[in-house]
Symmetry: C2
Subunit: 480 residues, 2 copies
């Protein structure tokens, strides 16, 4: 909700709120049967005392629009139209609950919502800070937009041809040889996973993935009646013995891996492990989804060549994205794979949204062609490295006695191992109550109660230090 009452208005605040809520009921935004948000939540949203909300609600109860039942939550029981007899209202809740897809976990929903609250410190956010985004370059790029250079119609099922040509050159730097016809443009690499889940995997599919993994935070595969089986990681990446064991125990349909600056652990797979992994997967006929969101964000030297670069047998679907290196707001990612797999995914892309934004595709192609993209990434690498070192010093100062962590050589994350297990839910809530948002490790491994993913990419350093102090305080309390 964007609306808040105006304290300067002659009309009392509770009256303004009352009218606002009445309008929602009258408009059908809150139809009969709607359970309205809690008084606590409404007070926070409207930035008023709870008593103000209580007065507004009581007046609407007196008007006969809301129910007085405090136990089961306040409900809309009537609107000003009375077209329907009481009780014969539309029951949307049964629809919301009937859908095939599960909702995001309550922690994720909290995070998605809280990120847009004013004044919140975002320690978890896997996103470049606003001052690391290419705003100036983009204004420049757009102001030089030539007349009629942007295609405004629907695009080819695989995406804009020019962008695919630029991407074929771009992935060559990661060692990947492909023609544009084996590239699919997607609206961010999360969409690639969605298309794979509906297009290439049967219900009951078993997805092997590092544990912990970003993949565990997505309800996508579970919603499609698939399961994720965790494979152990060590300092060189995914463990082959664990992969073999898990695959033997329960046949994997596909392996999902993040070889570079892994989310959340920040481990980078060694050259040798890559070769062994590829060979092993070939022997097992196990295709690989290689998610390379962070590969360009190295601090000292580039990571080994991608798995796809060595994949001469078309085992690997390679996912890339602009979201981590350039701008999440573009919503542009890509998949490289065997041509007929790309065609299947392109056909599905046409079924779900008719393709990615042409404006974004045009701007992405221009940024790649003009070198704006490469220059920007070079500068981001440098700035992120600096920031990571300062963030590292802050962790040492406040968390040394409470946790251990990796020293990042790229990417966005510290993966904190806590000295003692704690309730992940309590830790999240304690911090959020004090305005600090973090990503509990349990998002990436449901069984852990001893990890946190901390991003040094988003918050400013003063915010970061303030936030880390709150985390330290909360941990000390929870360790007692």
């Amino acid at each position: 909700m964007n609306w808040t009452p105006n304290p300067a208005d002659k009309k009392p605040m509770h009256k303004q709120i009352q009218e606002y809520m009445k309008e929602k009921i009258t408009n059908g935004e809150w139809p009969i049967g709607t359970k309205i948000p809690s008084q606590r939540h409404l007070a926070a949203t409207f930035s008023v005392n709870r008593s103000t909300v209580v007065t507004a609600t009581e007046n609407l109860i007196a008007e006969g629009l809301l129910s007085g039942n405090k136990g089961g939550g306040t409900k809309v029981i009537n609107n000003t139209w009375s077209l329907l007899a009481a009780g014969s209202h539309m029951n949307w809740s049964s629809y919301v609950e009937a859908g095939i897809y599960q909702p995001n976990s309550s922690t994720i929903r909290h995070i998605n919502e809280a990120e847009f609250q004013r004044g919140i410190i975002r320690l978890g956010t896997g996103e470049l800070a606003p001052d690391l985004l290419p705003s100036d370059q983009l204004s420049e790029l757009f102001s030089g937009m030539k007349h009629r250079s942007v295609h405004l119609g629907y695009e080819h099922p695989k995406g804009n041809g020019e962008l695919r040509q630029e991407l074929a050159k771009h992935v060559k730097k990661r060692g990947i040889e492909t023609s544009p016809s084996s590239i699919l443009i997607v609206s961010g690499s999360l969409q690639a996973l969605q298309l794979i889940s509906i297009g290439l995997l049967p219900p009951g599919a078993n997805i092997l993935a590092e544990k912990p993994s970003y993949l565990y935070s997505l309800p996508l595969f579970q919603s499609a009646q698939m399961k994720i089986t965790g494979v152990s990681l060590d300092k060189e990446g995914i463990q082959l013995s664990s992969l073999k064991d898990q695959h033997e125990k329960e046949k994997g349909t596909v392996l999902y891996t993040i070889p570079n600056f892994h989310n959340p652990t920040n481990v980078t797979m060694s050259e040798q492990r890559r070769q062994e992994l590829l060979h092993r997967c070939e022997m097992m006929h196990l295709p690989i989804i290689e998610d390379d969101a962070y590969g360009e964000l190295w601090f000292h030297s580039p990571p080994p060549l991608s798995l796809k670069a060595q994949d001469k047998n078309g085992m690997v679907l390679y996912l890339g994205t602009l979201s981590k290196t350039f701008s999440p707001g573009f919503r542009i990612g890509w998949v490289v794979g065997p041509e007929h797999v790309i065609e299947r995914l392109a056909d599905l892309k046409m079924q779900v949204d008719y393709g990615a934004s042409s404006l974004s595709q045009w701007a992405a192609a221009e940024a790649l062609k003009t070198g704006i993209y490469d220059n920007h990434v070079a500068s981001v690498r440098y700035k992120l490295k600096e920031k990571s070192q300062k963030a590292q010093a802050i962790l040492e100062k406040h968390l040394e006695s409470l946790a251990t962590w990796n020293v990042p050589s790229g990417g966005f994350y510290f993966w904190l191992t806590l000295h003692k297990p704690v309730s992940m839910g309590k830790l999240f809530k304690h911090c959020l109550d004090q305005g600090v948002l973090l990503n509990p490790g349990a998002l990436y491994d449901h069984e852990t109660s001893q990890h946190i993913r901390i991003s040094f990419a988003y918050a400013t350093l003063p915010e970061f230090e303030y936030g880390i102090k709150i985390v330290a305080k909360s941990l000390k309390n929870l360790y007692l």
Copy 2:
């Protein structure tokens, strides 16, 4: 495929093609086991004689890379790496066939591909012609882009706040009262249908819809184990008696309707029918998806107010889009509905693609705010009306003895009723062989063999006339 051999090159064409194909095999774009496209298809793609393709293919067979079996299609049987023993290759075909979602129908896949072939005349395309798109206004808008005005990070789950505010004002012109918190931004209204299919409907759901309807051309609901039940239409819109019958026979879960310039019939629902429909659905507790893609494209006077405008009980999910009135390439649509339904859909939007392009959202908000959008739509209305009248004269000249059709008062389409039933597949193929692409009526009603959807929005008038002549000739042949 974008590549074609270069006739100016000293190297013979068949040699160039041979090397191109070999590269695809070597890169893993055509892994071992891949069934390569037919010689006919390859010859068309490469713009060469079939014999040139035959020579290239025979050489690759001689090299041992392709199989010689002409009966079952030519397959890749080896690559230059020979890492794997023959027969132990990755079987992607089983993955492509295993996915939960059905492919698009072969006609739709043909259309999606053929639209990008050079020189094709597009009589079916539901899209404004390039010269009806706001290219100039857009260059202007972007060149005036203020420093840091575009948000480049991830957006709020419901979409950019400014755009939602502009949309709240915009839908008010269609009589809809809503706050921005009950609006969800989607990547085109097709995505709204996808989110509804996975988020609000149970497997086995029964979607009532006009028959014919655009909805029949989408495999979306069938893929999610749902079915579509057709309801008859008359000149005033969906027939209430047929709705009652169908709902009684098999309980509908939701009604999908296009009340304005219906796709494909171009019928607009009368004021009285709207009121009766809304009342009937309230009584049946049947929620409505109101797709208003074409409502602004009236030629003489605006259609009656939307169903949502009279929906005081939150029965209606209202879908709008920029695709038909402004630019498909923006990929921007919106859903207006009860707040907690919007929240459920927003949570799913975060699961499938983390939101629509920020560039598109920014540009859409600016176009609405500055009046660029309204001015453009006013001019499109005028130009489309003119075009429809000229197109109408062309139909009269060439098709009068072969079919009947509606006179459009808005929208994009003529819905042709053929004097005799014909094979839809043959008609489609006859025309396509002569470079004319049309949308057979069977896409919108699988049982019909007597309808074609002709769009006057896309092709130029000379193209339109040329295309209609081909249609007339094909019909005469098929009527024999």
